[in-house]
Structure formats: C-alpha cells, structure tokens
Amino acid sequence: MTAPVRVLVVDDHPMWREGVARDLTEAGYEVIAAVGDGTQAVRVGRSLRPDVVVLDLQLPDLSGVEVITALCADQSPWRILVLSASGEQQDVLDAVKAGATGYLIKSAGREEFLEAVRRTADGDAVFTPGLAGLVLGEYRRLATAPASDAPVLTDRETEVLRLVAKGLSYKQIAERLVLSPRTVQNHVQNTLGKLQLHNRVELVRYALERGLDS
C-alpha cells in the first residue's frame, strides 16, 4: 500500500479549514497541518514539505501570491491548488503565474474539490473555464506587449484553451480534436508552464535591473 498523500491546508476561515480537512481525511488524505495565515503556511510548508498545498488566496497577513512565491523560491516543483471564493481575476492569474498548479472556486462541490486535489497530487494542472479565459487573455496581453521574448501559444494550445474556457471537459475536447485526453492535459499543462517560466525570467530580470543580485 502506498503512503497517503500529505496535504497542507491554508485558509483563514476556521469553518472552511475544518470542513476541507475533514473532507480530505475522509477521502484518505493525510492532512499534516491546517493553518490560518500566510507566515505559518510558508514556515510549515518549508519544514514539512507537503505533497499538495490547498491554499486560500485571501489571508490576513501575506497574500496568497506571496505565499506561493515564497514556497516556490526553492526551485522545487510545488503542487499548489488555489481555492478562492472570489472572481478576483488578477489575483488568480498572479497566483497561477507565481507557481500555483491549479485553481478552483470555493463554491465547487465536494466531489469536484476532491477530484481537483487528486489531480494536483498527480502533478496535473487543474483548470476551470474561468482560469482558461484568464490565461488566454494573458497570452494575448503579452503578445501586444513590446517585449519580444514573450511566450506564445501554438495554434493547438489556443484551440484547447478556448474549449476549456467554453466549459468542455478534457474528454469532450479530446473527442472533438481527435486527441487522447492525456495530450489535451499536456497542452493545458504547457500553457501554464510557459507562463510560469516567463514569470520567473521576468522576476530575475527585474531583480538584476534593480541590482538586487549583489
């Protein structure tokens, strides 16, 4: 028998934290900690190295994006599922660019949530239609920006993202484009990977320009 997936739950709302932790435990996950603020999340995350972090974007001290940036600073692949009650789109996009691998709205049902955690643990990106729309928009924004090294989507990736944004499941997309669901998943993953890489390059460039490398 394989060891259970270890999960860190970060949410400032005690009822939510307990509810999420209970759901996860019932589903066979090991909730190693459930914390209510960003500072604790970074500290506990670094020392316990959970397999999956379930993170609320609204925290009292650090922002969700800051937590993600702090965790991902060690260059190792973190699996972070962002939960947000809001449609605060820029926050969600920033979180994904900073290194979150999935996003789910809080009103999603229990089954949908557990499925998202399972896929995050497997290393798959969890996309909602809303997130696909944000990522599409971000690539278009980058395309009009003057920087020449901005990442671009292939035609196939654009096609896949548009279908995700229109609410089709990976299975439906695979059928429509005559691809395997795995390939669809890979395309989605790539769009996120390129964006995160670009974000890291931008951060480094910014740091060099500001002389923070010294």
Partner: protein, 359 residues
C-alpha cells in the same frame, strides 16, 4: 498678490523720491504712500483668509486704490500729469484690479480696469499714450488672470470629483473585501454542506449558492468605466454569472465604446435567455470573452441537447424571432457577425464577433 503690492509700493516710493522736487505737495505724497503701505498690510492679512475674499473687502480695496490714484492730482502738478508723468501709486493700482479679476473673474476684472481708466483719464484731462498703454496692459493682465482663475477653478472642481469618485471606489472595494471574507465564505460553506446532507438541506444549499453567485457579481471590483472614457465589457457581463453560468474573461479590462459594450451585453443576455427557454433546467452555460487585437469575440456555449438542424431557420420563417432577431440584429448594427454551431446532444455555441472600432 501681497508680494506684488509691496514691490509696486517700493516702485512708487522710488518715483516719489526721484520727482519730489517737482511735486506741488511732496508731504501729501508721503502720507498717501503711508496709507498705501497700511492698506497693503491690511490686504495681505485679510486676503489670506479665503472667507474674507468677498465684495465688502474687494469694494473697499478698489475704492482705496482709486483714492490713491485721485490723490495724485493734489500731489503732482496738472502739467506733469497731462504730459504723461507717472501717477502716485503707479503700478500699485494693479493690486486692487487683479484682486477683482481673481475673485470675480474676467468680467469684474475688466470692470475694475474700466474704473481705474476713467479716474486716470479725469486726472490727466486727455488720453495720452502712457495712460492708454498702462490701461491696455492692465486690461490684458486682468483678462488673463480672470481666465486663468476660471480654468484653475474648473480643474480643481474636476480634481475634486475625481477624488470623490476614487474615495467611493475605495470604499466599495473595502466593503467588497469585507463581504468577501465573511458572507461569501459562509454562503459557499452552506452550499457545500447542504448539498452533501441532501434533502431539504440540499435545497437550502442550492439557494445559498445562488445568493453567493449574485453577491459575488454585485461586489465584483471591476470598475464600470475605464480611464479612457470607454466601458469595460467585463463589467457588463459579470452580472450574468450564476450557479449555472460561468464567465471566462481576461484579467485586464476589455475597453469598448459604452454603447457597443451594452449591445454586446444585451446580445449575450438574449443568448442566455434562449438557453434557459430551450434547454432542460440545470443546463450549464459558459460565456468566454476574448480580446483580440482587432476583434472582440464573445462565445456563449451551453451543454443542453442542442438544436436540430433547420430549427433556427424554421423559427425565423414562422415569425418567431428569438435568437435570430435579438442577437443577429444587434450584431449587424455593430458591424459584427454571429455564428451558431450546434450538434444534437452536445449543446449549442453562439459566437459573436465584433470588430473593435477605437472610440
């Protein structure tokens, strides 16, 4: 203003020193100058308080200015004045005039210049080049200052409105955050637990979910208008979000002329109404907004049973307008196009394309 008055006073004093030998009553000149000094001090203090910059003070100011000008006739011999010699207060008269221009705008400034000009004329008995020159310069100054004050006043009012708007927006964001951190979380939780418990609780959960979506759209922090005076299409579409309708859009504003955004929003509303009317309850719908360089693409897709081939044309032919009229008509007016794709069993997709015409 106060600085100008004292500088002009110094000039008048120098003139008095230079010409006092030729003056008929130099001692009176000194008295008048002392009065001017006193009044300069009074105005410097009085005008510092905006509450006192009103007609009583302005009236007295101009009256004293004219008085000092009139006093010239007892100090300076008539001949000298007639030949264009400077008056006793000289440039100092501009102080009172400019005060009028500042407080009353162009019209009152010009009126004050007119009064000064008339007094100057009676002093000298005839129009000389110097008088004319001085009056015209003063007129120009009063006119410009009056105009500048008006423009500055308008700019300040506009700034004030912008600041108020910003404060209102910030307050709204603060409220949104508050609602977000408490009410929305609890509603989402009730929805989730309710659905799990089933039965009547599930119904309560469903209601909580609907309220959550409505409230979230309501407190959404997307500002309606963008800074360039156009409207953000996203703010028109976000109210459509509900438990069954998902909106996907870019994170940045999608600026469009407000009328265009409203028309697109109405077309999306019609397409969504259509989904509700022609699909079983619980059918989900997705709205995708794409901001391409020269086109705005809005797609409305549902996962209902789809429309059988020919049904749309049939409906239009039978005089039932529905999607044909309200969506196609609106898009035609915007110079755009509608594409409807449907597969029985796989839902319907309505794609609206609108060319981006920069406002």
């Amino acid at each position: 203003m106060a600085v100008f008055r004292f500088a002009a006073l110094c000039y008048a004093a120098i003139l008095l020193l230079t010409y006092h030998r030729q003056y008929s009553r130099p001692w009176l000149g000194v008295v008048v100058l002392a009065g001017m000094l006193g009044w300069s001090i009074v105005t410097a203090v009085a005008y510092a308080d905006p509450g006192r910059r009103r007609w009583p003070l302005l009236g007295v100011d101009l009256f004293i200015t004219l008085l000092s000008l009139l006093a010239s006739s007892w100090v300076i011999p008539r001949d000298m004045l007639r030949h264009g010699s400077p008056t006793l207060p000289m440039a100092w008269v501009a102080g009172g005039v400019l005060a009028w221009a500042i407080a009353g705008g162009r019209r009152w400034g010009v009126f004050a210049v007119f009064l000064v000009g008339v007094v100057d004329l009676t002093l000298r008995g005839s129009i000389t080049a110097t008088t004319l020159n001085g009056t015209v310069l003063l007129l120009l100054a009063a006119f410009c200052i009056g105009y500048m004050i008006k423009v500055a006043g308008e700019a300040e009012a506009r700034m004030q409105r912008a600041t108020e708007l910003e404060a209102a927006t910030r307050e709204r964001e603060r409220l949104a955050r508050g609602i977000h951190d408490s009410v929305l979380q609890v509603l989402a939780l009730v929805q989730r637990r309710g659905t799990e418990l089933g039965g009547e609780a599930a119904e309560l959960g469903r209601l909580a979910g609907e309220q959550e979506a409505t409230l979230r759209a309501l407190v959404g922090v997307t500002p309606f208008r963008t800074s360039e005076g156009s409207c953000d299409l996203r703010s028109f579409l976000s109210p459509f979000a509900s438990a069954t309708v998902t909106i996907a859009s870019p994170a940045t504003a999608v600026p469009l002329p407000c009328a265009t955004a409203a028309e697109i929003s109405a077309a999306v509303g019609a397409a969504l109404d259509n989904v509700v009317q022609h699909t079983p309850p619980g059918t989900r719908a997705w709205v995708l907004v794409e901001d391409e360089p020269d086109t705005i693409v809005v797609t409305v897709r549902d996962d209902g049973p789809g429309i059988a081939p020919g049904r749309l044309a049939e409906a239009a032919a039978a005089g039932r307008l529905g999607i044909s009229q309200s969506v196609r008509g609106r898009l035609r007016d915007l110079g755009g196009a509608v594409a409807i794709t449907t597969t029985p069993g796989e839902g319907t997709e309505v794609e609206l394309r609108v060319p981006r015409k920069l406002p």
